[in-house]
Amino acid sequence: MRRSVSVAVLITVVVLGFAVWGARNSGVAAQGKAQNAEVKIDNFSFGPAMVTVPAGSTVTWTNHDDIPHTVVSADDPKAFKSKVLDTDEKFSFTFTKAGSYSYFCSVHPKMTGKVVVQ
């Protein structure tokens, strides 16, 4: 009886320990790997049109045109949506989940781009 209880306790401690260690480790790894990216809006286009970043990274768009643009997720429901960006205004979004995120300018829908989160 006594022995089996201590084994159970030991297993619990070991499992908990692993869980804590694992969480810390992945947290450190994600933060360490996060690579923020910049996308320029210039001449009615997103440049680069595709960016690939690790999960946890923040992407920032800056409008360099004389015309307002938006950055809007093409998915339903929308993963993100900027307000209207006038000249020199910025929009940032932090991508926490892996996946492929297509987006466009809702004012000029010919303008499209993609963020791939790994």
């Binding site: 001449n43 009615f44 286009s45 045109d65 004389d66 015309i67 307002p68 938006t70 093409a74 209207v84 006038d86 000249t87 297509s102 987006y103 466009f104 809702s106 004012v107 000029h108 829908p109 010919k110 499209t112």
Partner: protein
């Protein structure tokens, strides 16, 4: 491919190819009036006559005056203040002066959208204030994409399209001519063009169902309802369906804005026309990296901005669309 089509259109603008009497012997004409120039096209007895702007002063004013006269302005972009035009209020005032100076006073105005640059209340206010000085006091608006940037265009609807259907479409009659204002700047899809949408198309089909085929129709909307240059989004993806409901009418005139330059295409009984902006010019299709505002020397600006004046003469079966620059 697109470039080749564009060149053909450009060549078609060469009015020198039309015989001295103004009759296009090929029976088909696309007159494209680039910014700063203009063309006056009249359909009379089924024959299209085209007059270059330089010949206009020689025309009898009575020939141009109609039973119904109205003017179109577009793309006033109030709030824009960049190098391409730091004074869009000043050029809108110049457009009002131009309208007030027309030989035949227009009965009302159409504004084909992009009233404001950023949908701000003070931008809408400024345009309404400036247009109070226009002799025609009735103004019919449709929204441009710059007018519906916030709250799905609710402010636009409240101010400019009270009592309209859906996102702001409506129709009305003036002296036997049926006018239809359409909205093609809402719910645009990634990678797509202007869009009318199912609900509006159904309304349109219903709206014209009981009209006689002899009723002249004028359709106005912001983004061109013909394929001007899809690469820059200068077209409407479901415009063909809209036109299919309208082609049975003997006289159909389609007035648009959005591309900040005058352009005209005549196909059978349908005349497509885009108006100049009152704010800033944009490049000819494909002639720049992007359709952004075109910076020109200050002294040239007013020659690239303008208004459009439309005259309808029932007895003569004539409909004239005339562009004037703000110079």
């Amino acid at each position: 491919m697109a470039g080749k089509e564009k060149d053909e259109l450009l060549h078609d603008h060469n009015h020198d190819r039309i015989d001295e009497d103004g009759i296009d012997r090929r029976g088909f004409l696309k007159c494209m009036a680039w910014a700063g120039t203009g063309a006056f096209c009249v359909i009379r007895g089924g024959v299209l006559r085209s007059y270059s702007f330089s010949r206009l002063p020689a025309l009898d004013p009575k020939e141009m005056a109609g039973e119904l006269s109205f003017a179109q302005i577009s793309d006033s972009h109030m709030g824009f203040n960049k190098a391409a035009n730091p004074d869009v209020a000043g050029t809108l005032k110049a457009a009002v002066d131009k309208i007030n100076g027309l030989t035949v006073a227009p009965e009302f105005l159409l504004h084909t959208g992009d009233i404001s640059h950023l949908s701000k209340p003070e931008e809408f206010d400024a345009v309404q204030q400036i247009l109070k000085a226009a002799k025609p006091q009735d103004v019919f608006y449709v929204p441009g994409e710059h007018d519906v940037l916030n709250d799905d265009g609710k402010d636009f609807l409240d101010r400019f399209a009270k009592g309209s259907k859906g996102a702001g479409w409506y129709s009305f009659d003036k002296k036997g001519v049926h006018f239809i204002g359409l909205v093609n700047v809402m719910n645009l899809k990634a990678g797509g063009l202007g869009s009318l949408g199912h609900e509006q198309l159904e309304w349109l089909e219903d709206d014209v169902k009981l009209l006689k085929h002899s009723t002249p129709i004028v359709v106005f909307a912001h983004i061109p309802l013909w394929s001007v240059y899809p690469e820059w989004g200068w077209g409407t993806e479901d415009s063909a369906q809209a036109l299919s409901y309208l082609k049975k009418f003997g006289s159909l005139t389609v007035l648009n804005g959005h591309i900040h330059q005058t352009m005209q295409k005549v196909e059978g009984n349908v005349t497509f026309h885009t108006a100049a902006s009152t704010a800033f010019p944009q490049p000819a299709p494909g002639k720049a990296d992007s359709p952004g505002p075109m910076k020109v020397p200050a002294e040239q600006l007013k020659s690239l901005l303008g208004i459009t004046d439309v005259n309808f003469v029932r007895g003569q079966q004539a409909l004239g669309v005339v562009d004037s620059t703000l110079e």
